[in-house]
Symmetry: C2
Subunit: 320 residues, 2 copies
C-alpha cells in the first residue's frame, strides 16, 4: 500500500546492516532514485533494475501478460536466470503467486504452490500452509504442503522432526470435512512426525510446528489472527489511557509491551514463503511498512543461507 | 470439563442475582445436592431435575439414543413441553446440537441449525454463524443463517439494520470459493443490509454486525481467536514479570487489563445460540467455568426477554 517508499526504505535499512549482501531494487528507476536520494549515505550494495510498468493492487492475473515489464515479471526473471538468489514481492498477492509460478515453475513433482506463513506460538513459530495461494485445496496438495513444510522447517528452523498437524474442528480422526479426513489418511502413510488433527487454538500453543489446511481456511485464520491482535492492542491502549494511574503503569511497563510486539507482530516476520515454487519467493504483506520489508528480506536471506531450495528439491524428489 | 461443579456454582451465582428467574438444574441429583450443600445460602429459585445418565465429552451421537436419561435429553424435553423457556448445555457440542434438534426440531422452513457466536470488536460484538454445528455448508444454509442472524441481532442487540457480510478471502465479489460466491449471489436477492464479502480481520474491526460462513471455517476462527487471545495475555504476563519496573507498571495498570479481559474474554459472553432450533438453546463452552456458566444463563434470559423465538418464527416465515 505504501510502495515504493516503504520498499526502498526497508531495503536501504537492510543493505546498511548486511553489507555483504547485494540488493537489487526492481521498479521504476526514477522513483527509486528519488527515494534513495533522500538518504545521505549511499550503500554500495544496492543496484536498480528498471521495470517500466506497474500492476496495481486491484488488477487481475491477466495483467501479468499485458504488462511484461511490471516489477513482478522482471523480478521473477532475475531469479530465473540466476541474477538474483531470492525475491521479495510486496504487491498484489494473486499476481505475485502467479508471476512466480509462471517464470520459475514449480519444483518437479509439486502439484500446487502454497503460502507458508509463520505465526507466533508460546515458544516460537508455527508454520501454516496454505494461507491463500489457492482458494480450494485437495488432499494430495495438502499432503505435499505437509511434506514440503516439514523439510523447510527442518532446515530453516533447525528442527530435526517438525510436529505436523492437519487443521480441523476436533482432534479425533473422525472430525472435520472430507478434505481433512482424506489428508490425514494420506499423511499416515508418509514418513512425517504426524500429530494428527489439531484445532485453531493449537496453532498458538506450541502443540505443533507445521499446520496444513486449504488456502481459504489458512487465509481466514491469518487475517483473523491479525484482527484479534490489533483489537487487543487497540483496546489495551484505550484502557491504559483511561486514568492517570493506568497511564503511568503503561509507561513503566513499556518494555513489556515492546517485547510483546516483537514476539507477535507480523511486521517482525515480514513475509511468507511461496512454498513449492522453484526459486526462493517471499510474499510480503500488502500493508508492508519499512520494518516488514527488511524482515522479509532477512527471511529471504535465511532461505539462501540454509540452502532451502536444494533441500526441498532433493528431499522432495526422494519422497515422491 | 469442570462439570458438574462449575455449572452448579455458575447457576448458584446467577440465581442469587436474579431472584425472579427460576433455575432448573438437570443432572445427577445427589451430585448437584452435594455441591449446592456447600453454600450457606439456599436460593429458593433453584430446583433440580434428576437425569440418571451421563454422556461424556468423547462420545458419539448414538449416545443420545442409548442414554435417553442423559441431562441433554432431559433438558431438551423440559423446553419441549414448556417447563423451561430456555436451556444452557455445556457438554459435548456435537451431542448438544443433536439433542436440541432431535427434541425441539427446527423452526419451520429452516434447513440447518447453526451456532451463532458473538466475538468482540472495537465497538461491541460481531455475530458469526456457523461456528461448528455443521462440518460443511451449502449456500442456501448460509443464506438462511444470514437471515436468522440478522433477525436475532435486530432484537437481541437492538440494532435495526445489522450489517451482514460473507466471510471470504478478499472483498471483491469474485474472491472466495464456490460456497462464498453462491452465498453472496443468494444474499443479493434478499432484503438484508448486505456489506458483501469480508475478510477475517473485519470480524474484529466493527465493519459488520453479522458474518456467515461454513461451520468448519467458523469453528477454526473461533478456536484461533481464543488461541491468539490466550497467547497474547500469556506473553504479556510473562514480559510484565521480566523486571521490577514492568511488574510495577503492570500493577498500576491492573484496571486496564481487567477492562481488556471484560471486553474480550469468552467467559464474559459464555455461550453461543444454536440458531434455527425451535426453542432457545445456548451452547456453552466445553471449558466453561463458573463465570462463563452465569454469562451463558444471562444470554438465555436475554433471549427470553426479547422474545427471540417469536421474532425468529414470525419474521423467518415471512421471508421464506
Amino acid at each position: 500500500d505504501d510502495a515504493p517508499q516503504a520498499l526502498v526504505e526497508g531495503a536501504y535499512d537492510y543493505a546498511r546492516k548486511h553489507k555483504d549482501h547485494e540488493i537489487i531494487l526492481v521498479g521504476i528507476e526514477t522513483d527509486i532514485r528519488r527515494i534513495l536520494g533522500r538518504f545521505d549515505h549511499k550503500p554500495k550494495n544496492i543496484s536498480i533494475e528498471h521495470a517500466s510498468e506497474v500492476i496495481g493492487m486491484g488488477e487481475k492475473m491477466d495483467a501479468l501478460k499485458e504488462k511484461p515489464n511490471d516489477s513482478m515479471n522482471v523480478c521473477s526473471k532475475l531469479v530465473k536466470v540466476g541474477k538474483a538468489d531470492a525475491m521479495v514481492l510486496c504487491g498484489n498477492t494473486g499476481c505475485s503467486v502467479a508471476a512466480a509460478q509462471l517464470h520459475l515453475r514449480r519444483i518437479p513433482g509439486v502439484k500446487r504452490a502454497g503460502i507458508l506463513t509463520p505465526l507466533p506460538n508460546t515458544n516460537g513459530l508455527t508454520w501454516v500452509c496454505d494461507c491463500g495461494a489457492n482458494a480450494v485445496g485437495k488432499p494430495e496438495h495438502l499432503a505435499q504442503f505437509a511434506q514440503m513444510s516439514s523439510i523447510f522447517v527442518k532446515h530453516y528452523a533447525d528442527n530435526p522432526a517438525p510436529r505436523t498437524g492437519v487443521l480441523s474442528i476436533g482432534s479425533e480422526d473422525s472430525k472435520g470435512d472430507e478434505l481433512t479426513k482424506e489428508t490425514l489418511a494420506l499423511l499416515k502413510n508418509i514418513d512425517l512426525n504426524l500429530v494428527g488433527n489439531i484445532e485453531g487454538n493449537h496453532i498458538f500453543d506450541d502443540s505443533v510446528d507445521v499446520v496444513v489446511c486449504d488456502g481459504f481456511t489458512g487465509n481466514v485464520v491469518l487475517k483473523a489472527t491479525e484482527g484479534v491482535a490489533k483489537l487487543i492492542s487497540g483496546i489495551l491502549k484505550e484502557e491504559l489511557h483511561g486514568s492517570p494511574l493506568t497511564l503511568l503503569g503503561g509507561l513503566f511497563a513499556k518494555k513489556a509491551f515492546k517485547r510483546l510486539r516483537e514476539r507477535t507482530h507480523w511486521s517482525l516476520v515480514g513475509g511468507c514463503l511461496l512454498l513449492g515454487v522453484d526459486g526462493i519467493t517471499i510474499i510480503g504483506h500488502g500493508r508492508s511498512d519499512r520494518v516488514a520489508v527488511a524482515s522479509a528480506m532477512k527471511q529471504a536471506a535465511r532461505c539462501i543461507e540454509t540452502n532451502i531450495m536444494d533441500h526441498l528439491r532433493k528431499e522432495f524428489a526422494g519422497l515422491s
